[in-house]
């Protein structure tokens, strides 16, 4: 999160990045996988800032500049934009020192063969929603992070995918004013216990199926104009999980619980000619409580307000990232 705020808005960093092909990726799979993409990353990483390291952790998180065939140019794991800019300058100097043949090499993996990516299941003709999550203003100061603490400004992103046939289940079969439909259980399950989890300050995992106590999304035809059917969306959800797990980075498991309860409200427009949503906006607002190991809530367990904004994602490549809860989809 810090890099989003500090590093990539920096003008010098952005100018230097224009000479690169910029990419972002999840490091856990890359540093453990045995597929060509992961093996190439491991080749790069083992020339970099954490090469060979296993203590205190084996992470290979960081910023890497490399040739396409895995020749290290420079690397760093830092959120100081000045140091990142220096790393980029070092990388470009190393790149410029290569021969033309070395820069133009087509050796090694081509970037496409034998790819094993969830992004390959992106529902091109379906419904892709960008989900923004943020704490809402809370009454009193209990549990609130100080204003100069990053946690007071924290927000996170995720994506929510529905295949074409799943997206259609949002739309009343009768496209007449006032016609209603209740979202089917599978899609509702994904919208609620998988997505309405507290990732504001850090990653968490979907709530288990049995934790979902109540969930409903009703869609109602609000207008029909040509091929465009506008829907009002309204609903509610509550889930609560009880058990024993760690709620701090290095803490032991403890008896605890977490949950969410709130309302959903929004609107969407379905095009009957293309059978796709051309507009979609949904708010989920309510209360969250509890924590998981890495979501930064170990000192903020009490019920507090939280909000989710679901919006239609763009077609841009950077919005083709697989959802964090994808493994709950059953695809």
């Amino acid at each position: 999160m810090t890099a989003r705020r500090a590093v990539f808005p920096d003008a010098k960093v952005r100018a230097l990045l224009q000479r690169f092909v910029p990419a972002a990726d999840e490091v856990g799979r890359l540093q453990r996988g045995k597929d060509p993409e992961s093996l190439l990353f491991q080749k790069v990483a083992e020339q970099g800032h954490y090469a060979g390291r296993s203590v205190p952790t084996s992470t290979r998180q960081g910023l890497y500049a490399t040739t396409a065939d895995g020749r290290m140019l420079a690397s760093i794991n830092h959120n100081d934009p000045a140091r990142v800019a220096a790393m980029l300058e070092k990388a470009l100097a190393a790149w410029d020192a290569l021969t033309e043949a070395e820069r133009a090499t087509q050796a090694g993996w081509d970037g496409t063969t034998d790819r094993q990516r969830l992004e390959g299941r992106y529902p091109q003709d379906g419904l892709v929603l960008r989900v923004t999550t943020r704490d809402l203003e809370r009454p009193g100061a209990a549990g609130a992070a100080p204003r100069d603490d990053w946690r007071s400004k924290a927000w996170n992103l995720d994506y929510l995918w529905f295949r074409s046939e799943e997206a259609a289940t949002f739309v009343p079969e009768k496209r007449a004013l006032g016609a209603t439909r209740t979202l089917a259980p599978a899609a509702l399950d994904r919208l609620t216990r998988v997505q309405l989890v507290d990732n504001v300050r850090g990653q968490t995992y979907p709530a288990p199926k049995e934790s979902l106590e109540r969930a409903r999304l009703t869609t109602t035809v609000a207008s029909v104009k040509g091929t465009r059917v506008t829907l009002a969306l309204e609903g509610e959800a509550r889930w609560e999980q009880s058990g024993s797990w760690s709620i701090g980075d290095n803490g032991a498991a403890t008896a605890t619980k977490r949950g969410f309860e709130g309302r959903l409200l929004g609107s969407a427009t379905w095009d009957t000619k293309t059978n796709r949503f051309v507009a979609f906006e949904l708010l989920a607002v309510g209360t969250r409580w509890g924590a998981t190991q890495y979501n930064g809530r170990h000192d903020d367990l009490a019920p507090q307000p939280i909000g989710y904004l679901f919006e239609l994602a763009s077609d841009a490549p950077h919005e083709h990232v697989a959802p964090a809860g994808f493994w709950e989809y059953g695809w």
């Binding site: 890099a3 989003r4 590093v7 808005p9 690169f20 092909v21 910029p22 990419a23 972002a24 990726d25 999840e26 490091v27 856990g28 890359l30 190439l40 990483a45 290979r60 998180q61 910023l63 500049a65 040739t67 396409a68 820069r103 133009a104 970037g111 790819r115 990516r117 992004e119 960008r130 923004t132 999550t133 809402l136 203003e137 927000w155 995720d158 409903r216 009703t218 109602t220 207008s223 009002a232 309204e234 509550r238 309860e261 709130g262 409200l265 609107s267 708010l283 607002v285 309510g286 307000p305 909000g307 904004l309 919006e311 239609l312 994602a313 763009s314 077609d315 490549p317 083709h320 697989a322």
Partner: protein, 103 residues
Amino acid sequence: MWWGPRARHAPGRLAGHVRRIALALIVLSASADFSRAGEINEAQALTLESYATLKAAIAPSPAECVWREIGWLPTFGEAVAEARRAGKPIFLWAMNGHPLACV
């Protein structure tokens, strides 16, 4: 728009016809059991009237989205393919949790 050409930015307030339908649905669902809703912060209750304010409170500001304007490719492999095609070096931002989404 920083999200790209396809995204639609609906008005902050729900359109009139949508509001009428949504209000009817909220009234009909008022009997829902919120007996444990003591945990709900009534000051942040989602209503038609509070919708725009709450949306503005959640949505990232343009300043918070500047980092997304860099033209990121979402996977290392796509960067390898593009770098081979374009004859450029790769810059890879690798984190636990995808840097372009849930971190």
